[in-house]
């Protein structure tokens, strides 16, 4: 390997691609365009009906944000942070039904003995800026993650959101009466990957919650944090947050 090769291998930048006059070679140009095409398709993609049915089989309640379609969602971020009319009631009702059949876990009993309130945890899955990310990694992440979260606290009925942004998880957790929201959401596609999932964990979410109050685990995809291992990482962070009773900057992970 030459000295330059060694330097070039130290970066993912698209180097040493040659040129045709002052323009890129044909294969290089098409490779670049292919990556961009995948990213654009991911942004405009929506969850197909089959995946929505699959989510319901996994126990999810599927709701919509106040953004009625992808274009509005892209143009008006505040709408993606709020629930569509009527959805809050559906979440409250679903949580109440689930509470009736809820049996406290051991760690929950231990907490109650110490006098702490039952720390409900709310799992949310949103399409975000790449619906493909959630659809592709759901089966690797969600069942394991739900199992992990149930050992920590009472898990509210998981909620899946169409046209959702990060902060919509805060409202969902409040409606369900959960102390911690664990929000899996499709990340803005880059050229390297169009199906990356992020996870935002927020303790005691409320209207004044800011990004500084959240912990984030990003880059969940085949070439990043392995989706099969992501659930354990997320549950570990959730445990730290529940113990510390904060997800803000005071908690250093």
């Amino acid at each position: 390997m030459t000295a330059f090769e060694r330097l070039r291998r130290a970066t993912p930048a698209r180097l040493d691609v040659g040129r045709a006059g002052s323009r890129p070679r044909t294969a290089t140009l098409l490779d670049f365009r292919r990556a961009h095409a995948a990213a654009c398709d991911a942004v405009w993609s929506e969850w197909p009906d089959a995946f929505l049915a699959h989510l319901e089989r996994l126990g999810f309640l599927v709701v919509s944000s106040a953004a009625p379609d992808r274009r509005t969602y892209i143009l008006n971020p505040p709408l993606g942070r709020r629930l569509a009319p009527g959805e809050a009631d559906r979440i409250r009702t679903a949580s109440a039904v689930a509470q009736d059949t809820f049996t406290p876990t051991l760690s929950q009993r231990a907490r109650e003995k110490k006098g702490a309130p039952p720390p409900g945890v709310q799992l949310v899955l949103s399409d975000g800026l790449s619906a493909m990310a959630g659809a592709r990694h759901c089966d690797a992440v969600v069942p394991r993650l739900l199992d992990g979260l149930r050992t920590l606290a009472h898990a509210a009925v998981p909620v899946a959101v169409r046209n959702g942004r990060v902060a919509i998880g805060d409202e969902i957790a409040r409606r369900a009466g959960a102390a911690l929201v664990v929000h899996l959401i499709g990340e803005r596609p880059g050229l390297a990957t169009a199906d990356s999932l992020g996870c935002y964990l927020t303790y005691a979410p409320g209207p004044s919650t800011t990004d500084a109050d959240r912990k984030c685990i990003s880059n969940i995809h085949a070439a990043g944090l392995n989706p099969n291992e992501a659930a354990a990482s997320i549950a570990g962070v959730a445990r730290r947050i529940l113990d510390a009773q904060t997800s803000g900057t005071a908690l250093v992970l």
């Binding site: 040129r19 961009h36 892209i74 008006n76």
Partner: protein, 453 residues
């Protein structure tokens, strides 16, 4: 304060104040719609432009769009206007200003700059077509000099942007050497660190310095960390030629960036004391329409007007480099290629009118309705309008910031297409190295191996 009226056909329009006229006179931008201040339809937009065309320039001083009581930038801008000079144009209408910019001798126009409030640049831009904006900018070059001379007619420079996802010096070095071999880097070699710590700034600065001195490259270096981090690095003796900071068009937006005019003044004083570049121009600023709204700091003022105010901040510090990052902030501010294209040539024009040495980061994110073809089109328009510099990134794909901008190849192609040359000092260096001959890349260009030790 008089209400402003327009009658168009059988429709009557009424605007409560100058800020409302300014907002509604803007070309369509998703950010103004998101802020709830855009024109309701195309006819109201034109009615606002008609009203604006008849507004006298003195009204912008008498009735500031953003009151000085509410904002330190307004106070600074109003106090810095050359009053004697302003009296000569105070009775011009905005419509007349447009015609002067297109018809008067460029030297006379350049002499008016100290009389121009930033808001005037925004006002007149709202009345101008795309070709107007390009031509007026071309007539108002801003030439600055560091180790290279930038902004000369017939030249196009680039910022070599060798970003790396882990701030690795080896990977950065590979990107720099290849960029230089394509004739890029005459404006600056400027890297965005992932990690905003002093030791990272020092490490990256040392990495660039090593290449610059070994190859004797006539250019500047810059590490685009927060200005306070760079100040600390400068105090510790890091080889930084320029100080960088992102700026916004309101005091509140600047608070969100963690800066104030007092902090920039302090940094400027440190630069005077510790700066090592032997030049009067040692600042680099970045801006972009929509940043004020994104931090909830827009005060109901439209994004074009706030962008002009960013250049008002920049020119207080005599920068070497200023660029708008025109497609970066997202589709909720500039939705598609039409809006990005318009914003790019507006920003370049406003900067040049105010005396700022404008470059443009012609770019887009993947959730915007724009692609590489749109980006190339805008770059051609801006290069034709005399834009000082563009970014240069391997294949236009920034592997750290995750967005697309202009590439090493694009810079070379734009120079070939429009007959433009690198900055003179840098072109001479490229010729010496056998990478450029008679303004054209040689067969040896594009191969970084030739620049290895």
């Amino acid at each position: 304060m008089a209400v402003l009226f327009a009658v168009s056909g059988n429709r009557h329009y009424q605007f409560p104040n100058l800020a409302a006229v300014m907002a509604k006179a803007n070309e369509e931008k998703s950010g103004d719609a998101l802020a709830g201040i855009a024109a309701a339809d195309a006819q109201e937009r034109l009615a606002a432009k008609q009203v604006l065309a008849d507004v006298r320039l003195r009204r912008f001083v008498d009735e500031p769009v953003l009151p000085p009581e509410a904002d330190e930038l307004s106070r600074a801008f109003l106090s810095e206007v050359d009053q004697d000079l302003f009296r000569r144009l105070a009775d011009w209408s905005v419509g007349e200003l447009r015609e002067h910019l297109l018809a008067d001798a460029p030297a006379d126009l350049a002499a008016l700059r100290p009389a121009l409030l930033p808001e005037l640049a925004a006002a007149v831009a709202k009345l101008m077509s795309n070709l107007d904006l390009m031509l007026a900018a071309k007539r108002l070059p801003v030439v600055v000099k560091g180790r290279t001379t930038l902004g000369l007619s017939g030249h196009l420079a680039t910022r070599l942007q060798p970003n790396h996802p882990r701030d690795g010096v080896d990977g950065m070095t590979a990107s720099i050497l290849e960029g230089l071999s394509y004739g890029c880097g005459d404006a600056v070699i400027g890297v965005n660190p992932v990690d905003d710590r002093v030791e990272v700034v020092e490490r990256l600065a040392d990495g660039i310095e090593q290449i610059r001195t070994r190859l004797n490259v006539p250019t500047q270096s810059c590490i685009l960390a927060h200005v306070t981090t760079q100040m600390e690095a400068l105090r510790r003796g890091a080889p930084l030629d320029l100080l960088f900071q992102s700026v916004g068009g309101t005091a509140a937006a600047n608070r969100a960036f963690g800066i104030s005019l007092a902090l920039l003044d302090e940094a400027n004083a440190l630069l005077a004391e510790r700066g090592r570049l032997d030049a009067a121009t040692r600042w680099y600023f970045e801006t972009g329409q929509g940043s004020e709204l994104s931090s909830g700091a827009h005060h109901g003022v439209d994004q074009l007007t706030l962008e002009a105010r960013c250049y008002g901040v920049a020119r207080r510090y005599r920068p070497l480099l200023v660029n708008t990052v025109v497609g970066f902030i997202g589709p909720e501010y500039l939705y598609d290629s039409k809006q990005v294209l318009r914003a790019g040539i507006e920003d370049h024009f406003m900067g040049k009118l105010l005396g700022v040495p404008m470059g443009v980061d012609v770019c887009h994110t993947n959730h915007m309705a724009a692609d590489q073809n749109d980006l190339e089109s805008l770059a051609v328009l801006l290069a034709a309008a005399g834009c000082n510099y563009f970014m240069a990134v391997p294949m236009g794909d920034d592997c750290m910031l995750n967005y697309q901008t202009t590439s090493y190849h694009d810079a070379a192609a734009l120079r070939e297409l429009l007959g433009l040359r690198p900055a003179p000092e840098f072109a001479a260096w490229l010729e010496e190295r056998g990478l450029l001959h008679d303004g054209a890349l040689t067969a040896a260009a594009g191969d970084a191996r030739r620049l290895m030790p």
